[in-house]
């Protein structure tokens, strides 16, 4: 059973290309989740070794996601490493993972596949997500 010669079957023609969209999306998701889990583990191990408690008490209030990320990055830049910073980095990386995946899809559809239809679709998803992450 052969379909009309569409070039974009997952798992057929593109299987040998090391940088196809499946690999790109797959590795972004994998890296994001592993990195986030590692950062969260570091924060808890450090916290436990430091004060013998695993409890953190702070909420992200009055900040939108991008402010939260930039404040976390500023602390990383000023090397103010503390368990709480790793905790925030872990949550930040986790939330950025699907976002970066959508961003990469837009770029891939636009510049590699030149598929304008799907560039538009993914760009819509990206703009709605960006808008919602600016909410506060």
């Amino acid at each position: 059973m052969k379909e009309q010669g569409s070039p974009d079957y997952p798992g057929k023609e593109k299987k040998n290309d090391p940088l196809d969209m499946e690999s790109l999306v797959g590795y972004i998701l994998l890296t994001g989740v592993l990195l986030s889990v590692a950062l969260l583990l570091i924060s808890f191990v450090w916290r436990w070794a430091g004060v013998g408690s695993l409890r953190f008490e702070h909420s992200i209030v009055g900040m939108n996601f991008f402010e939260f990320i930039s404040s976390t990055l500023r602390q990383v830049a000023s090397r103010a490493f503390r368990p709480r910073l790793f905790l925030n980095m872990g949550i930040g990386v986790l939330m950025l993972t699907p976002f970066v995946r959508v961003l990469a899809s837009v770029v891939y559809f636009a510049f590699v596949e030149h598929n304008w239809k799907y560039t538009l679709f993914t760009a819509f998803v990206l703009s709605v997500l960006t808008y919602s992450l600016f909410l506060r």
């Binding site: 379909e3 808890f44 953190f56 905790l87």
Partner: protein
Amino acid sequence: MSFHILFLVSIVAGFVGAMSGMGGGVVLIPVLTFLGMDIKHAIAVSIVSVIATSSGSASAYVRDRITNLKVGMFLEMFTIVGALAGAAITLVSGRRILFILFGTLLLSSWIALFRQRSEVWRPVGHQDIFSRWLELQGSYYDRSVRQTITYRGVRAYLGGPLMFGAGLIAGLLGIGAGALKVLIHDLVMGLPPKVSTTTSNLIIGVTALAGTSVYLAAGMIDPGLAAPIILGVVFGAFMGTRLLVRLTNQTVRHIFLGVLLVLGFEMIVRGIWRVGG
């Protein structure tokens, strides 16, 4: 609530969720509220953990080339808008109604699971113009039958709007709503079961992020509370997937059906009589 309790509860939720294929939220939220957490906060932290479990499993399926990225990315347009609306509704709605809705969801999943899902799939011969324009066809190599399965997605004009509803429920109740998405893929869009499940996994991550953004803006995401839950659910899901091959399907189903029934009734009763939460 202490780290240990949150972590343990989340391991169990992730474990049961992965074994049943329902995701962690359906167990996590009732148990967290039972332990005294406010239902809206339980929904908010649960949806953050959904990002982790769905992205983790989606990464493997996408690299195996079973997931249909185009189907996923088309349907995401609908689910994220639904999730934003759903989460916004949760913020303003009463807690009792959330309990009742959650209980109803659990009981309807019980009915859906009780009628065992048929694994018989037949390819759709004719593809409508809209779905063809969307390039919703594909193929994957099925290891269990050792052959390449070719399929055409259909009725995208119906699948899209229905996905808005699935996104709405996901954002409203803090779950992945994977079962609902799979149902739409199967029954409406004619996708093979493996493609349905894996593509729904991909969509869930982005949908959960949209829901999370609303709860974050409302100041309801507490990293100290969310982190042990994320870790627990991820570890539980990892173990659940490993054990899945060893336990027979029937055992898993019976355990899970029992759990769903008890949790469903418990949530509805608490919603009606306003016990705790």
